[in-house]
C-alpha cells in the first residue's frame, strides 16, 4: 500500500464520526472525567488522605479528651495535636502545590520530562530516613502509650511508668520494631504498585522521543 493510500484511508476513517454540538460539549464538560494521568492519580490520592486524615485527627483528639485522665491529657493532647497536625499539614502542603497543576501545553518531549519529575517529586518512592526512623516508630510508640494511659485510669503518669514490668516494656519495644519493619516496606510497596509501573512507562516513552533525535 502506498503511503498516500494509507493517509487517505486514515483520513476517510473519520468521515462518519459523530460531531458533537455545543450543548453536547457543555454536557460532557459538566460530567467531567476520572482522569487516569499520573498527576491526577496523585491529586486524588492526596485528597483521599486528607478526607480520611482530618476526621481521624479530630476523632483521636476528641477520644483523648473524653477517655484520658486530666494528668494524661496535658501530655498527650498537645503531642497528638503537634504530631498529627504536622503530618496532615505535610499532606495538605503537597496537595495545595499539586491541586492546580493542569496537563502541560508544552511540547511533547519537555512536557513528558516535567511529568516524570513531578511524579518523582510528589510520590515518596524512597521514604526519607526521618519518616523511616522517627515518624513510623513514634506512631507505634505513641499509640501504645495512649492505650496504656487509657487503661491506667486514675494512676499518675509517673507512677504508670514506674510500675510497668520490664516484660511489658520489652514487648512494647518489640511491637514498635516489628511494626515499623513491616510498615516501611509495605508503604513503599503500595507507592511502587500505584505509580512505579506508570512512571517506568513514561520514562520509556521519553526514551522513544530521545531516540528520534539520534
Amino acid at each position: 500500500m502506498e503511503f498516500d493510500e494509507i493517509k487517505n484511508t486514515w483520513k476517510n476513517s473519520f468521515k462518519n464520526t459523530e460531531i458533537l454540538n455545543k450543548e453536547e460539549l457543555e454536557t460532557r464538560l459538566k460530567i467531567g472525567s476520572k482522569s487516569n494521568t499520573a498527576l491526577n492519580k496523585i491529586k486524588r490520592s492526596y485528597r483521599f488522605e486528607l478526607i480520611l486524615g482530618i476526621p481521624m485527627f479530630l476523632g483521636i483528639i476528641i477520644c483523648l479528651f473524653i477517655f484520658l485522665n486530666f494528668s494524661y491529657k496535658i501530655y498527650f493532647i498537645p503531642v497528638a495535636i503537634l504530631f498529627l497536625g504536622w503530618t496532615i499539614s505535610f499532606t495538605w502542603r503537597n496537595y495545595y502545590r499539586i491541586r492546580k497543576t493542569v496537563i502541560s501545553s508544552d511540547q511533547l518531549k519537555p512536557a513528558l520530562d516535567k511529568t516524570i519529575r513531578d511524579i518523582e517529586k510528589y510520590v515518596n518512592f524512597n521514604m526519607s530516613s526521618f519518616a523511616k526512623f522517627i515518624i513510623i516508630p513514634f506512631s507505634f510508640a505513641f499509640g501504645m502509650l495512649m492505650g496504656l494511659s487509657v487503661a491506667a485510669g486514675e494512676k499518675d503518669f509517673a507512677e504508670l511508668f514506674l510500675t510497668m514490668e520490664t516484660r511489658m516494656v520489652v514487648k512494647m519495644i518489640l511491637i514498635m520494631i516489628i511494626g515499623s519493619a513491616f510498615m516501611i516496606p509495605f508503604s513503599q510497596y503500595i507507592n511502587k504498585r500505584l505509580y512505579k509501573q506508570h512512571l517506568d512507562k513514561l520514562k520509556s516513552y521519553l526514551k522513544e522521543f530521545e531516540e528520534i533525535e539520534k
Partner: protein, 169 residues
C-alpha cells in the same frame, strides 16, 4: 473575561476542532471504550488548561499539544492487538463488497498504526493531518531537521508493518 464567556469561547473552538480529539483518541486507543474515555478526558483537560492558552500560537496547535500530552500521560495496560480480527469482521456488516473492502482497509491501517510507538504515532498523525515540518516540530519538541528524516523512517516502517499484516508474515 468572565468564566461564562471563557466557556462559550472554549466550546465554540472545540466544536470547530473536535476532530483533533477523535484522531488522538483513536491513535492511542484501539478499543472503543478506551477511545471514549480518552475523548472525555482530553476534553476535560483541555478545558482545565484553557486559561494557559496564550493565543500566540494557533488554537489547533495548542490543542494538539494538550491532547497528545494527555494521551501519552495516561496509564493504559498494554493493549494486545488482535491479529486474527482482520478477517473477523462482524457478520451483520452490509454485504456491499466495496464497503467491506473499505472497512477492512481502515482496520488494517489502524492495526499498523497501533504497532508504532508513542513518539512515532504523534509525528505520523500530525503529518497525515497535513501539518508542516515546522508545526510538527513546534508541537513535538523535535528539531525540524529530524522531523523530515523521522517521517520518512516512519512511513517505511508503517508500510513494512502493513505488508506483514496483509500477508501474515
Amino acid at each position: 473575561m468572565t468564566k461564562l464567556n471563557l466557556k462559550e469561547e472554549f466550546v465554540s473552538l472545540i466544536e470547530k476542532h473536535q476532530g483533533i480529539i477523535y484522531k488522538v483518541s483513536r491513535m492511542y486507543c484501539d478499543k472503543e471504550e478506551c477511545q471514549q474515555d480518552l475523548f472525555q478526558d482530553i476534553l476535560v483537560q483541555l478545558w482545565q488548561s484553557f486559561p494557559t492558552f496564550n493565543r500566540q500560537s494557533k488554537f489547533s496547535t495548542w490543542m494538539y499539544r494538550v491532547a497528545l500530552n494527555t494521551a501519552i500521560a495516561q496509564f493504559r495496560k498494554d493493549q494486545k492487538v488482535n491479529e486474527d480480527s482482520i478477517s473477523d469482521l462482524p457478520a451483520h456488516i452490509p454485504e456491499d463488497e466495496s464497503y467491506k473492502e473499505k472497512e477492512d482497509r481502515i482496520e488494517l491501517v489502524q492495526k499498523a498504526i497501533n504497532k508504532l510507538n508513542n513518539a512515532e504515532k504523534a509525528i505520523i498523525m500530525l503529518y497525515m493531518d497535513d501539518y508542516s515540518y515546522e508545526e510538527i516540530s513546534e508541537i513535538s519538541g523535535i528539531s525540524v531537521s529530524n522531523v523530515g528524516v523521522k517521517i520518512n523512517r516512519i512511513k517505511t516502517k508503517l508500510q513494512k508493518i502493513l505488508k506483514e499484516l496483509e500477508y501474515g508474515i
